[in-house]
Structures are given as C-alpha cells and as structure tokens.
C-alpha cells in the first residue's frame, strides 16, 4: 500500500472522490463534512449543517454538487463552489446510511434504517420512488454504473437488485414529475416503477455493503458474518459465485477496483484486504493498530483508493504506476505488463523485446521497480520487490525483437538493488550488511565490498562507481579504490538522473530536487510543494522535470520555472531539443513538444552567450513583467532595457546599467526634477561633467552647479553664475561664486551692497584694497573694526582644477554587449534599416569581446577546478590512514611456502607452436607460405605450380607479405613486445584457438584497381607507366589468394588480359626505340594490333599502325588497318584520316616494302622475339602467363612476365584454398 495522504479526525463514515479534481470529501461521525485536496494535503472547506453523524456523501460527476445524508434523517445537496447547502430532502424516517447521484439522470438514491431505499429527483427536489422490501436497516444502496439497476444491502441478511427501468421510462417526459408526486403515496407500498429483480441470500448475518462491478455482471457484498461474497447475474437470475474468507470481524465495505481485476474490502477488524477477483484468493492485507475501518471509496478515473477509519482516513494506491525504464542513447528499454519493451526515440518505434514474467502471476507491487541496461552486452537488469528485493538478469538475444512468448531463464538473485557499473559488471546491494557484491554476467560474484555508509539503495555513478543512498545522505563510492568520492546531505533520494556528460547529477526526492556535480558538490536545491515525479537533462545542461501536474525546468544556477501544465502525471525519459519523451502511467511512450524559449534564453544569459540572447530578443516573443523582473534581479538591466517601453522603467534600468545616454533621453522625456537629480548623481559618479551640468541646469541647482564649475575649472561659467545670482538677488550665491573665483573686489562690493560695511572694510583692507578701505572707513566713521595684529593675510584662491573641462577619462572597458543593439532594438517601430545595420556592425565588435569574456571565465573555471581537485586530493590523502594488508594473496602470506613452490615443483612447459608454423604446415598456397616466412617453400610451390624461376621481382612482395602478417602488442611494461599473427577472414563467430590462414597484404581487388589505372595510363599514352602497372599485376598474382573457385577463374582471366597488354606495350615501346628500321617498326605496329586489347586501345594501335605503314608507303597494309579501324566506329577525327587513307590506298593498292605480316593467316606473337608464329608452326609457352614463344626460346625466362621458365613443366596457378581442398 502506498499511502498518498492521511488525515486525523473524528470517525470517517462517508467518502467520495471528486471525478476530476484532486479532492476528496469525508463525512464524519461528528456531523462535519470535510473537503480535502489530497495532492496538496490541505483542508479546503468544511460543511457543518447536519446534526449527528453523516454517513453518506457523494460528488456529482459533472456539476459542482455533492449530496450528504445523516442521522438527522436529512439528505442535503450542496454546492461546493458557493459553499452552501442548496436544499434538504426530507422523507426518510430514520438514519440515512448512503446517498448517491445517478450518473446521468438527476437522481439521488438513498438507503435508510427506515428499511426503505428512496430515489429522489434533485431538480424537482422530490422523492420519485420508494423501494420497499427489506425488512431491516438498509445499509447501502447504489445505482449500477450503466444499467437501470440498483443494488442494496441490508441487515436482513439479503442483497437485493432492483430494476428501475420503468422509473426511467416514466421520467422521460419532464411533466411527469408533478404527476408522479401525486402518485407517490400509492407507490409507497408495493411501488411498481422499481421492482425487486433478485434477492441474493447467502450471508448469515446482516449485510453491510454491496456494489456492482464497473463493467461485468458481478456484485460483491460484505457482511457481519465476516465474509465477502461474489455474485454473478444474468438476464434471468443471480447466484452466488464464491465466498472470500479472511476478515476477523464485520466487513464494513467492499468494492471492485476501477482498473485492476481485484476486490478491496475493509472491516472492523482494522484491516483492508485485497483479493484477486478471478482466483478469489487474498493477495494482501494491510492492518492498522487501533482503527476499525468503516468505509471505502474508489476513484472513478485514476488508480486511487480511500478508506475511512475511527480516527481519520487514508488515500492510497495499491501499486506503483511508474514503469521501470532505462535509457541508453536513443534506446529506451521499459517494462509494460509482462514484457520488456524497446522504444527508439529517433524513429519513435515501439516494439516488444522479451517476456519477463510468466502470464498470470499474482502480484501486487511485485512488478519491476528499476531497470539497468548495458548497451555493449545488450543485457538488462530488472529489480523488483519480489522476495523482499530481487533482481533478474536477461541477455537480450540479438535477433529477437520477436513475439516469442517463452520466458527466458533469467539469472536471478536477491538484493536491495542491482545496477550495472561497467559493461559486464553489476553491483548488488546486500541491505542488511551494507555490502555490495560485484557480479559478472554469469551471475558470479567477482568482488565484495563493504560500503562506507549504511545503504538502502544503490545507483549508477559512472563506471566502477556507485551512488549509495541512506535516509539522509548520499555518497559516491569508488568500488575499486574503495574511496568516497563525494558526499552530500539530502532528503531521502528516490531517483538519480545523470546528465548526458556525467558531469552533473540530479537527485530527486519527494519534494526536493538537488543538483550536484559528479563529486556531489551541491550546485542548487529546489523545493516543490507537489511531488516530484521524474526528470531528464537536456543537451544544454538544463534539467527538465515533472511534478504531478507540471513540466518544469531548472537551470544550472537553480532558477526554475514552469514549462507547461500536465493533466496526468508523466515520467520523463529523455529530452532532446524541444521534444520531451516520456512514459505515462499506462506505459505508453509519448513525445511532447515544448516551448523551450524561456529557459534557453535564461540559460544563454547565464552562460553569457549574449549573441544567442540578442538573437532571441530579436526573433521571439519574450516579454512581460516577469522577464523584466528576472533580468533586473539577475543583474542584466541592460538586457531588460530591450523589453521596456515605459519611460520611467527605462530610466531606472538605464541608470542601473549605467547607460547615461538612454537615461538622458528618458529623463528628457519625463522631465521631472527627481529624474534629473538622479541622472546628475549617476553622471557625477561616471564623471560625465557635461551631463552633470545639464542635469543641474535642468533642476536649477545653482549651488551644485557652481561647485561643479569650480572643480572643473570653468571660471567663465562660474562668473556667469555669479551674474545670474546677482540678477536673482541671491546674495549668498553671489558671495560664494565670488569666493570661488577669488574676486576680492566683487566680494567687497557684495558685502557693501548687502550692508555689511564692517565686513566689507575688513575684506578690503586685508586684501590691500586701500582706496576702497579708506572710502569704507570714512563711511563707517568711528565704527571701523580693528584688524588683528601680527598676522599676515593671504588671498584665498581656489586651487586650479586638475583637469579643466570635459569628461573624466574613462577606462575603455568592454562595451556593454547590448549598447550597440540598444537604440535599434528597443524602440519598437522606430527601427529603420540603417540603424539595423549599425546594430549589426556593433555586434561584430561585441562578439569579439564576448569571446574574451568567455575565455576569462574558462580560465577561472579551470583555476576553480584545479583548486577543487587539490582539495579532493587532500581529502583522499587525509583520513583513511588505515592500512589495508599487504598486496599479497592469502596463501602467499608466508614467503617460505612460495619459495618452495617455485624451486621444486614447477616444470616449465615446452614451448608451443607459433602460428606461423601452423600456417606453413597447413598451407599449399605460396602467398601464405611467404607470409609465414617460409620463403623456400613458397618458392618451391611457385616453381612447381607456375614454373617460376626468376624470383627477384617477387622479393619485395615476399617481404611485405611476411612483414604484414604480424601485429605488435605492447603488453607488460619494459618486457619484450608480443607479436600477434594476423589472421584472414575473421568473423564474430570465429572460434578461438582455431587458427585461420594468414592475412595477406595483397588481394584481388587491388589488382583490379591496378588494371583500371593501367587502362587509363594506356589511353592517355603513358605507356611506360602502364607497362609498370601491368607488370606489377603479373608479379603480384602468384601471391594473391582468393576464396572461391569462380574467383580463381577471374584471376586466370586477369592473367591473360594483362599478358596481352604487357606483350603489346613491350612491342610498342620497342617500336619507338627502333626508329631507324622502318620495316621492323611497321611489323611491330602491326603485331600490336593483334594483341587482345580494349576497343579504345585497339583503335589507338590501329591508328598508329595505319600511320606508320602509310608513311612507309605500304598503302595496301595501311588500307587493312584503316578498314579495321573504321569497323570499330572510331571518333570522327580518326575516322576521317582512316577514310582518306582508304581512298588513297584504293587508288594504289600496293606495298613498297615486304613485311613479315600476313593478317589473313592467324598467328600469335613470340613474347621474346616479337615475330609471328602462324598457325601450324611449332611454339612453346610460358607456364605462368601463357605467352607463346618460338621453340628456340625454350628454357629461357619468359620475356613477358619475367618470372617463369619458358616451356617448363608446371601444375598451374593455385591461388585459392578451394583448389587445394
């Protein structure tokens, strides 16, 4: 049982869930009806108008109404919106036990101790039917959720089902109600609109409760005989199906679960029991110490139940609804019903993977709680509460995304929780000992480790690390180093979500989210009033999470906000850009698109990515007081400026961000004294004398102005001010200014004018203005003041200002990022294109500076990190001084034993056979022998098979084959390197210890590539290069190995193709050398045309032969070449020449010189002497390349391939293991 909410109160007798809102009504024995919000846990309202206990209460399913009935015989209908009782239905003559609204008609059914059931119309507020027949208290009555039936239970030991079909018919016309009212009395006894359909007898004592199944024709009842009975009915009859025994006292209430195939009952024996409705067996029992249960309620929509007892009520769930899931990249594995399923976030395809439970296993809360997945091994760990905590390990077969219904024999074990900590290792928690077992995929214990704190759950924390949870803290523990990497005090952590880069972790508690670094350094804490359900990190490091009713975000600095509201709880599995992937409570995958603008914007601000910020300001609708307040609060008044139209706010923001020019503009707009004053203060702070002066002028603050002039040395303006003061008759101002100016005469004048003659006199005489002093002395007469003796007066002159005029020099600091964009971006419509461009330009500058800023930050981060690391190291080093035994195995604790062991018993094994030996023993392919290093064997094979005797051209290939047959593994430090034989034809299923043939550096496809290059070189006339390529093919083929027979034929074909080219090219090159022998030239050119060439090459050969012969005036021969050329459809340029030659030759079909060339007589060409060997003449051939030779060449090395001996005996090319087998 998962308790969601609990209240303490007087005995709860009636309960009803609101169908939509998270509300529940509880009617109490004290007469009060309480309205609770069970999600927030608050009492919303109380309704206190009944006298005595209220036993029945029910919400209307669509109107803001509820009905209640109590021991005061009254049925009251209330509007919970207006908090008022709307009216009272009177009629029952004894306590009312239950009341219920009809799901569509305006009816209420009530059951009473007066032995009747009444049906009321709450619109006409009348009783429309009285159902009589029970002969004891009726304890309960309720409508069928769909059909026109009522079920009732009574202390007369019966359950009755009533047919109210006729009642419904009668009320079709609204006028009926009035008529019915008159009829009511006649109906009172033996009413006809509601007749008893079935009377269910079977209970031995009074029946307290009976209720319908929401969909099936079933009834369940509970009675004082401590039994729960299940009844079935059809059109004509109803019968008892089974009895559920187990309660130890009166069963007070019993119901079918709205969503699952179970029955829930409660009893005065202080227990709630859960039964399997199909098997009719008890599944679970929940007991309370002191409280007898009185009432049950089932939520009509969601998976919630409520039970009322002696001292309050509880709202609870029977089973967890969170599907277990694990995400890896785009792959989400999750459990649903009996199956492990797979969901691909990129394609949004959902498929069933394997069954994980046999069908029909009875269980509550035994379903998988957590899932852990190892992508490399394709293994899944499923943990559940079965057997007090256990896990199952499944290896997902590679090919089985099938419908197979066979449950794999999983590897199992018990343990608090189990998670993968490496590709092929998982950790299992032993709760009672706080130990962790590290196991391999065979479910064998590899290692045991005790944990540093009493742990009740473990979570993944990076490879080899575990996050251990206890009641009040979590630690990250490195299993190998046995070191605590981090520790954090937290509320009870339920879920742990790592960021994609494993740098940050979110710890989710019931009402708290803690974001910490990978070493559990606290970054921020968030509190929620509503339960936190799930979360995932987006790619930018923002944590997106859900509560029961919101999707929210949390920025790295702890700022959070709502992204959207939710109707039903969801469990986030992955966040990718604007898409949130989640599972709902039905185990369905959903992809929700959200508007991420707000948090992306805030994140950009936080990360100081001002370019993004600016882009977003320009392109998206981000406004509102909240955003401005946020910006101001976060110290970005200059950004906020962009959003504000109101001048006063703009002025404030401008001042805050020190943007004087905007402030001046705004101040001018507002033009009030206060703003000018504040502007002056800020301008003074910045030393912007011009603006200070302007602001002082605007406020007519002459004292400040004159002081400003004094310190900035603007004496001319100061004297002007003095004049103004004179005009304004401001004597003090005048005097001050005179003082500042050091103008003694003026001061004397002012004093004199003001009537202070003695002062004027003293001033004049002290400053040595004798004339004036004398004049004043006469005016004063006897009142001439005496001057102090013995003092030398000096003229008070203000010091000259350090800097005259102008603004204070300002350090050229980073220009406010937003200054540039300000003018253009802010003022709504006033933006014209030019300004826009300006802004762009400024942005260019600003960007650079952003970079600088970014770098600085990075540096600081780096320093910080270093500092942290330093600390960590200190941590590691301190503390754990406990020395853990020596690194010796137990049996070697005594050195003697091992000394003995090594001196006496051990016999060194004989050396095994290197792979290369195996190769050379097994193979009869020359290439493989060469790779194995058995050059002599390779040579012998080649000699035997192909008659090769000249191995010099093959030397480099032998060595390459040999060199390429081993790789080098540096294993143990400073020890000799390990050579590993590279084998050919590796596949995943190759069995170990079975040696494949050596991997060869040459293969057939390379030769085909070379052939293509050779053709290309031929076409472009690079004949030497072409010859080199073709020869290289001929030289490599003896050392090429192919797999199949058909490939062998291809190899052989390649040899003949290449041979023709080699021969042809050799002759052509020879022809070019023999310039002085035109006959031989013609002959060679002619023979070339008889090599088997590609068509373009043949054309070239013919063209050249034609030319050579024509030049030598052998027109008839040239004619034949021209004719042959024309037959090949040559290009027009060639064809034209050919036609001309044909024409010329037709006129004079003669040859001037005799050639050894008879094209009518088929011939081959000797590969060494380049003379035709006509059919019928004797010849010998090369055993390898099949070139033909005149018999005199017998025994020489082949002139074409340069490898084999002409006329030697040979068995033929062997280049595939398939030939050998």
């Amino acid at each position: 049982m998962l308790t969601k909410f609990e209240t303490k109160s007087n005995r709860v007798k009636g309960l009803t869930f609101h169908p939509k809102r998270p509300w529940i009504l509880a009617s109490l024995h004290s007469g009060v009806i309480q309205l609770w919000d069970y999600r927030m846990g608050t009492l919303i309202d109380r309704f206190d108008e009944h006298e005595g206990p209220v036993r029945g209460v029910h919400f209307h399913n669509s109107q803001p109404l509820f009905v209640s009935g109590g021991d005061d015989y009254k049925i009251k209908v209330w509007n919970h919106k207006t908090h008022r009782c709307l009216f009272t239905l009177l009629g029952h003559l004894d306590y009312i036990r239950t009341v219920q609204f009809h799901h569509e008609n305006p009816w209420i059914v009530s059951a009473s101790d007066d032995q009747t059931i009444r049906i009321w119309n709450w619109q006409s507020r009348t009783c429309i039917s009285v159902l009589t027949g029970h002969n004891h208290y009726v304890m309960c009555a309720s409508f069928h959720p769909k059909e026109d039936l009522v079920v009732s239970a009574s202390l007369d030991q019966t359950v009755r089902v009533w047919d109210i079909g006729s009642l419904k018919k009668k009320t079709v016309s609204p006028a009926d109600d009035l008529m019915r009212f008159t009829q009511m009395n006649s109906d009172l006894f033996g009413g006809v609109d509601a007749i008893v359909k079935y009377v269910l007898e079977g209970h031995d004592r009074g029946v307290n409760w009976a209720s319908f199944h929401p969909t099936l024709p079933l009834i369940v009842s509970g009675a004082d005989d401590r039994q729960v009975k299940l009844w079935r009915m059809n059109e004509t009859k109803a019968w008892e199906v089974d009895t559920l025994r187990g309660h130890m006292n009166n069963v007070s209430s019993v119901m079918f679960h709205a969503k699952q195939d179970i029955i829930v009952s409660n009893s005065e024996d202080k227990s709630i029991r859960v039964w399997d409705a199909t098997k009719r067996t008890g599944i679970q029992t929940f007991r309370r110490e002191h409280d007898r249960f009185w009432i049950l309620a089932v939520h009509p929509e969601i998976n919630l139940l409520a039970a009322g007892h002696d001292n309050g009520m509880i709202v609870f769930k029977l089973e967890r609804e969170r599907p277990a899931f694990a995400l890896s990249g785009n792959s989400l594995f999750y459990t649903k019903d009996r199956f492990l399923r797979y969901y691909d976030c990129s394609t949004q395809k959902d498929s069933q993977v394997i069954p994980i439970r046999r069908p029909g296993t009875p269980s509550l809360n035994q379903s998988p709680r957590t899932l852990s997945y190892s992508p490399t091994e394709n293994a899944v760990l499923i943990c559940s509460d079965l057997d007090g905590g256990s896990y199952e390990l499944y290896i997902i077969p590679k090919d089985s995304v099938g419908r197979s219904d066979v449950v794999q024999d999983a590897k199992r074990g018990t343990g608090g929780s189990a998670v993968f900590i490496a590709r092929n290792r998982f950790a299992v928690l032993e709760k009672n000992t706080s130990q962790v077992l590290v196991k391999n995929l065979k479910n064998e214990v590899v290692k045991k480790s005790s944990l540093p704190i009493p742990t009740d759950a473990i979570f993944y924390a990076g490879t080899g690390n575990l996050l251990c949870r206890s009641e009040d803290k979590v630690v990250i523990f490195d299993l190998q180093q046995r070191l605590v990497l981090g520790e954090l005090q937290t509320p009870f952590v339920r879920y742990v979500v790592w960021s994609n880069d494993m740098e940050s972790v979110a710890l989710l508690s019931k009402h708290t989210i803690i974001i910490a670094s990978k070493k559990l350094v606290l970054q921020c804490t968030l509190h929620e009033t509503i339960r936190v359900k799930s979360g995932a990190w987006d790619d930018n490091g923002v944590f997106i999470y859900t509560t029961l009713n919101h999707i929210k975000y949390c920025l790295p600095n702890g700022d959070s906000g709502i992204i959207r509201t939710l109707d039903v709880p969801i469990y986030i599995t992955k966040v990718s850009g604007n898409t949130i992937f989640c599972l709902d409570r039905d185990g369905k995958n959903r992809a929700i698109t959200i508007n991420a603008t707000e948090y992306i914007f805030k994140l950009a601000l936080l990360r100081k990515r001002y370019d993004h910020v600016m882009g977003m300001i320009k392109n998206s609708q981000l406004c509102g007081q909240a955003m401005i307040a946020y910006l101001q609060q976060k110290g970005f008044p200059e950004v906020a400026l962009h959003f504000v139209e109101d001048e006063r706010v703009r002025f404030n923001l401008a001042l805050e961000s020190g943007n004087i020019s905007v402030a001046v503009a705004s101040a001018t707009e507002i033009n009030e004294k206060e703003q000018w004053y504040r502007l002056g203060v800020e301008a003074l702070r910045q030393g912007n004398a011009g603006i200070v002066e302007f602001a002082y002028q605007q406020t007519k603050n002459f004292e400040r102005l004159s002081f400003l002039y004094l310190i900035t040395g603007k004496l001319d303006k100061l004297s002007k001010l003095m004049k103004i003061a004179e005009v304004k008759n401001n004597v003090m101002g005048q005097f001050h200014n005179a003082l500042y100016l050091g103008d003694v005469k003026e001061r004397v004048k002012i004093l004199e004018n003001a009537g202070h003659l003695p002062l004027a006199y003293i001033t004049a005489s002290v400053h040595g203005l004798k004339d004036v002093a004398e004049r004043l002395a006469t005016e004063l007469g006897e009142n001439v003041p005496s001057l102090p003796e013995g003092k030398t007066p000096s003229l008070l002159m203000p010091p000259s200002p350090v800097m005259c005029g102008g603004d204070w020099p300002l350090l050229r600091v980073m220009k406010g990022i937003f200054e540039g964009g300000l003018e253009s971006a802010a003022r709504g419509g006033a933006v014209d294109e030019e300004e826009e461009e300006d802004a762009g330009g400024d942005w260019g500058d600003a960007l650079d500076m952003v970079d600088v800023d970014g770098m600085e930050n990075r540096d600081i981060d780096a320093i910080l990190e270093e500092a942290e690391r330093g600390e960590d190291e200190n941590d590691e080093e301190g503390g754990w001084e406990e020395l853990e035994g020596l690194d010796l195995p137990p049996e070697l604790d005594t050195p003697k034993a091992s000394a003995n062991a090594r001196s006496s018993v051990f016999v060194t094994p004989t050396q095994g056979m290197p792979v290369s030996h195996i190769w050379s023993q097994k193979s009869s392919l020359a290439a493989e022998q060469a790779a194995a290093g058995s050059f002599d064997t390779a040579m012998r094979l080649l000699n035997r098979q192909l008659g090769i005797k000249n191995f010099a051209p093959l030397k480099s290939m032998f060595i390459d084959l040999f060199s390429g047959s081993q790789s080098y593994l540096r294993a143990f430090s400073s020890s000799p390197v390990v050579s590993l034989a590279i084998e050919r034809g590796w596949s995943e299923s190759s069995s170990p210890n079975v040696r494949g043939p050596p991997s060869l550096v040459y293969d057939f496809s390379q030769q085909e590539e070379k052939l293509k290059s050779g053709y290309k070189a031929t076409t472009s006339g690079k004949l030497t290069e072409a010859l080199r390529l073709f020869l290289s093919i001929l030289h490599t083929i003896p050392l090429v190995v192919v797999e199949s027979r058909s490939e062998v034929d291809e190899v052989k074909e390649l040899v003949t193709i290449v041979k023709e080219y080699v021969l042809g090219l050799k002759m052509e090159l020879k022809r070019r050398e023999t310039k002085d022998d035109p006959v031989r030239q013609q002959e060679l050119a002619a023979y070339f045309t008889h090599c088997n060439l590609q068509l373009p090459h043949l054309r070239l050969a013919l063209f050249s032969a034609m030319g050579v012969c024509y030049k030598s005036k052998n027109l008839a021969t040239a004619y034949t070449f021209a004719k042959r050329l024309l037959e090949t459809n040559p290009m027009e340029s060639q064809a034209k020449t050919a036609r001309q030659i044909v024409q010329a030759a037709e006129r004079n079909m003669t040859d001037t010189t005799e050639l050894n060339y008879d094209f009518r007589n088929p011939f081959v060409i000797c590969g060494s002497t380049y003379v035709p060997i006509y059919r019928g003449q004797k010849d010998v051939s090369c055993p390898y390349c099949t070139a033909r030779f005149v018999p005199s060449q017998q025994g020489n090395i082949c002139g074409v391939c340069d490898l084999a001996v002409i006329g030697a005996d040979a068995s033929g090319l062997v280049c595939s293991p398939s030939q050998v087998r």
Binding site: R425, V438, N440, V446, K447, K448, S449, G464, L479, Q480, R482, E876, E877, E884, G885, D887, L888, P889, L892, A899, R902, F906, T908, Q911, G912, P914, F935, D936, A938, M939, R940, F951, F958, I959, D960, F962, S963, G964, Q966, S967, Y968, L969, R970, A971, F972, S973, S974, S975, P976, V978, L980, I982, E983, W986, S990, S991, P992, N993, V994, V1001
Partner: protein, 293 residues
C-alpha cells in the same frame, strides 16, 4: 592483491596509469602524501619503472643509490640491463646472484625484474623459474605474457584464472584477459577490443591503449580503423616503436606506402622486432633463392 577491503587504496590511480602506459602522468602524479613505508617503496618502483619505460635509464641508475630498498635495486638492474646491451652479461650474473640470496631472493619486484630480463633473453625457462609462483598481480601478468610468448595459451589461461580469482576487475587482470584474448584469437578478439574500449572510456587515451585497440582492429581485418587509431597514437608520440611498427603493417594492408614508417622505426629503434624481421626476411629470401637454385 587485496581481495575485499575497506581502506582506501592510495596507489590505485598510480598503478593504473602505469599499467595503461601513461608513464609521464604516473611520474607527475606520484606525489602522494601519507604513504606507509611499504607503499612509498612501491610508489618509487612504479615511478622508476615509468622512467625506464620512457627510456630514461641513466636517470634511474643514478637516482637509485646503494642505500635504496631491494625492490628499487632490482629496478635499477633492469635499467642497467636495458641501457647497455654490451654489459648485459654482468647484469644478468648479478640478477642471478641476488636471486640466490635467500634474504632478498624472494622479493616480488626482484623476481618480476628477473622474469622481465630473462624474457628479453628469451630464456623463458629461467624466467618462469622465478615468476611462475606469482604472488603479485604484476608477476601473474608477466607470466601470462611469458606463456603467450611461448604460445602456450593454456598455461596463460591458468595464470589468468588465478588473477581473476584475486580481483577480476583489476586493471592488470583486464589487460591480461585482453592479451590472452588476442593471443587465442577468433571471437575473443572482440572481447579484447571491448576491454581496451572500456579503458579508453575510463582513462585518458594512451599510446598503449590506442595501439592495443589498433591491434584488435587489425586482427579483425579492420585495417582502416586500425590506421586511424594508430595515427592518433602517432600524434601523441611520434617515436613510439609499436605505433610505428603497427603503422608499417597497417599501411601494407591498406595498400599505402609503409617505407617512411619503417625507416623511422629503423632510425629510432633499430632493435625492434619488426626491423629484425625485415632484415632477417631479406637474408632468408637470399638463402631460399640459393636453396631452390
């Protein structure tokens, strides 16, 4: 070989960095306070062995004086052996002398060094005489390698099983598993690859791990991936002999010229197996020519 323990293992990181071939990192991060005397000696051994792996033999020889502990003296012997091939006879005789000394003859490091030296001498019999009993993870790992060199993977597997019993997740156990997997070949190569992959995810990439991965790739016939891994390794250390040697092999297979890497290897490591192989192959070829003529 602490099986199950509770105290922290101060040298864990240092050992790992050493085993995975991050020798300079090991040296740089060797300042660990609060070490017990035994741990301190082990630390020093690791540091000096790192220097040896980097080729700084003289530094090791001059830093370790007469007063140093036996394990360090043993390490010094290795440095002497590797630094002057001409005087190796005298080094070997002092190794033998020390091994015969009952007070220090059983020292694990000494035996390890002896095993390493005799392995270089290709005297596996002598090497195993001192190492076969094991006693430390290092010794067992060395045994695995000796048996692999002897092409006796059955024996190597037995050694590995001992290691797995002590600590299956120990870096050396994992490495030795991978070595053996490579030696037996077939489907095991993939497992070896995964082990090196794990290392490369968990620790900073080293030439050693990159090379090992590349070797796996080559064994699986995936020469293109091997080449890119090796080039990455070459970036880290342009003179690493195994990187160069494997690049030679790899280039041959992908049909590129290998001569540049080979000449580099010949210049920097004239004693490398591949260099010797190539020159012996040339002689071999001439001899074969004569035998066939």
């Amino acid at each position: 070989m602490a099986g199950m323990g509770s105290g922290p293992d101060h040298l864990f990181n240092l050992r790992n960095t050493f085993y995975l071939g991050a020798y300079q990192t090991a040296i740089n991060n060797s300042e660990i306070p609060n070490l017990s005397p035994e741990d301190a000696v082990e630390r020093d051994c690791l540091v000096f062995r790192s220097y040896i792996a980097l080729g700084s033999y003289q530094l090791v020889i001059s830093e370790i004086d007469e007063a140093a502990a036996t394990p360090l003296q043993a390490v010094k012997l290795l440095a002497m052996y590797l630094s002057s091939p001409d005087n190796k006879e005298s080094t070997i005789s002092s190794v033998k002398e020390w091994l015969a000394d009952s007070t220090i003859g059983n020292n694990a490091i000494l035996r390890l060094i002896a095993g390493t030296i005799f392995m270089h001498e290709e005297d596996y019999n002598e090497a195993l005489k001192h190492t076969h009993a094991g006693g430390t993870m290092d010794l067992h790992a060395l045994n695995v390698q000796i048996f692999i060199k002897m092409h006796r993977s059955d024996y190597a597997e037995k050694q590995l099983r001992v290691m797995q019993q002590y600590d299956e997740d120990h870096t050396l156990t994992q490495l030795a598993t991978a070595w053996l997997n490579l030696a037996v070949g077939g489907s095991k190569i993939q497992e070896a690859y995964l082990i090196f992959q794990d290392f490369s995810e968990r620790y900073p990439m080293t030439c050693l791990v990159l090379n090992s991965k590349a070797v796996c790739c080559m064994q699986m016939g995936n020469f293109d991936e091997a080449e890119s891994l090796l080039l990455e390794a070459l970036n880290k250390d342009a003179k690493d002999p195994e990187t160069l040697a494997n690049l030679v092999v790899c280039s041959l297979h992908v049909g590129k010229s290998s001569s540049r890497y080979l000449s580099q290897l010949k210049l920097s490591h004239p004693e490398h197996v591949l260099v010797k192989r190539v020159s012996s192959a040339e002689d071999n070829f001439e001899r074969a020519l004569q035998s066939i003529a």
